[in-house]
Amino acid sequence: MDYDAIKITAGVVATIGLYSILYKENKFYRFFEHVFLGLAAGYTIVAQWKDTLYPQWWLKMFGQVADVDAATGAVTSPAVPGNWIYAAMLPIGLLAYLVFNRKHNWMSKIPIGVILGLWSGQQIQIWWNTWGPQIYSSMQPIIPTTFSTLSVPSTVEVVNGRVMPIQDPVALANVQQQLANNLYLTQALTNFIFVLTFASAFSYFIFSFELKGKFLTGINKFGRWMLMIGFGAIFGSTVMARFALVIDRMSYIVNEWVQALTQR
């Protein structure tokens, strides 16, 4: 058995170990659950050092000497000076560990406060970037500009017993121009439903106090239904995602593993 086969077999055993919980609680599962947690914690420590603290703290603190190509003498990577004040971050960062100290545990809130401060400042910074275009795109026209036909003119026709795009280029261009220049009744209705859905669902979300009157309670109830439509979409899409993961796991076992064992 070569390395690839050993590696994939280990993965399959670990996968089956975790799946065994689906049958019932057992020691095999508990073993692999703890292996998983241990590996995750170990990997996080290593990654945190090599990807965050080493390049963003250590190297910034101690700088880097220049790399020079041995053959040509060209500088491939310039020298970088070290910023010594970064050293002060070590004791400040270690304040977080005072959470285990009764007397000074309030100081552990200082690094947490810095991180929350950054998050808070960014919320103010990004709000308009996030919502400006969305508010704009939610303001859709709801009054039709033409009543020549109620629905949108079709761009297809039946040719020789088949549905095809309009074959005459002039006629097709004419229809497309009509579509670009007009808002038809059905389009206006669609836009109205869009605006109503957004407004009612949003009002349900933010007006959490008791509403009185038939109109307001009606809007409220409609908003709740619209929220359910949103949740339905989220549910359907989530189902696809989770099934895709199971399909992939099964493929890992029945395709990749079997292939690895049989090809070697």
Partner: protein
């Protein structure tokens, strides 16, 4: 490369008070930085109880300030804050603020790195105590700590070899791997990543079980939600939408009415998505966004009762 070229390359550094060329001198400055940080912490530990909230608030406020100012302060379009030169005092301030954004972000990352260690430290502490006291299921704690230790050692060793020992990139090719590289690959790629995938995929089983047992049409809300989900899921099946679409095409041919095209499954599902699902999800997100803004302001200004300054 001759010695002269090397020396010239190293001399390219422009030193300032804060930034020093790598070497013995810098190490001394680093020790001073360490001493300053430690001194600051000792100073903070003497802060009287009634001023502690204000100290935490100050740190919180200062961390958020560059981002708020970077948003509020006018800036030239497409400014390159590294290479461009400000034309007046207003731009100078704008340049300073925008240049401050990166160091503040870096400082936060560093603090985040140290904070993550608290979680790991806590995990190790809990399981060590369990082993020491031989509490129930202490064997699993031993498994956890062993796998943690092995992964940490192997991970650092592998990194050391790749980052410092291997100067030519030879370890990018598997034929040149050493045993520790194999061990890292086996633990990370072979086991950890596959378990990660298995853990997440198990939710599908629970969804299926819940769909069978609990997804009941008992109210208008449940019916609406199920209908929305059903249409979306049916539309995910290309074979079904294709067959349905062909059926509609035949109807259009028979009746000559192209309006029926709107009843193709994918057309209707797309209409439902863009007319009702998107605004509904946007409404939810918008509500959350408003909440986040309010929460952000309250935290930043130290007004949040449950915040860090409480």
């Amino acid at each position: 490369m001759n010695l002269m070229q090397y020396m010239l390359a190293q001399q390219a550094i422009e030193e300032t008070f804060w930034r020093k060329a790598p070497g013995q001198g810098l190490i001394l400055w680093v020790v001073i930085g360490l001493a300053l940080g430690t001194g600051l912490c000792f100073l903070l530990s003497t802060v009287p109880t009634n001023l502690r909230k204000k100290v935490i608030f100050t740190f919180t406020f200062l961390a958020g300030l560059p981002y708020v100012l970077a948003f509020l302060w006018p800036r030239p379009i497409s400014a390159d804050f590294t290479n461009d030169v400000p034309r007046n005092t207003g731009e100078q301030i704008g340049f300073f603020i925008n240049q401050a954004v990166e160091p503040v972000g870096t400082l936060t990352n560093i603090l985040g790195g140290f904070l993550l260690g608290v979680g790991i430290f806590s995990l190790v502490r809990v399981h060590s105590i369990r082993i020491k006291r031989k509490q129930e299921n202490w064997g699993y704690s031993l498994v956890l700590l062993s796998s943690f230790a092995i992964m940490t050692v192997v991970g650092f060793w592998d990194w050391r070899l790749r980052a410092f020992v291997d100067q030519t990139g030879a370890l990018n090719v598997r034929d040149n791997w050493q045993p520790v590289n194999y061990a890292q690959d086996l633990l990370f790629e072979g086991i950890y990543q596959q378990m990660d995938s298995a853990m997440f995929s198990m939710i599908a089983f629970f969804i299926l079980s819940a769909a069978y047992r609990a997804f009941r049409i008992r109210s208008v809300e449940a019916t609406v939600m199920m209908a929305s989900a059903l249409i979306l899921m049916l539309n995910l099946m290309g074979a079904l939408t294709y067959a349905w679409g062909e059926g509609i095409n035949n109807l259009v041919v028979q009746t000559g009415n192209p309006f029926l095209m709107n009843f193709k499954l994918n057309v209707f599902a797309d209409w439902l998505r863009s007319t009702m699902q998107i605004p509904a999800i946007r409404a939810i997100d918008f509500g959350v966004g408003l909440g986040a803004l309010a929460m952000g302001l309250r935290l930043w200004l130290g007004l949040e009762k449950g915040g860090v300054t409480a």
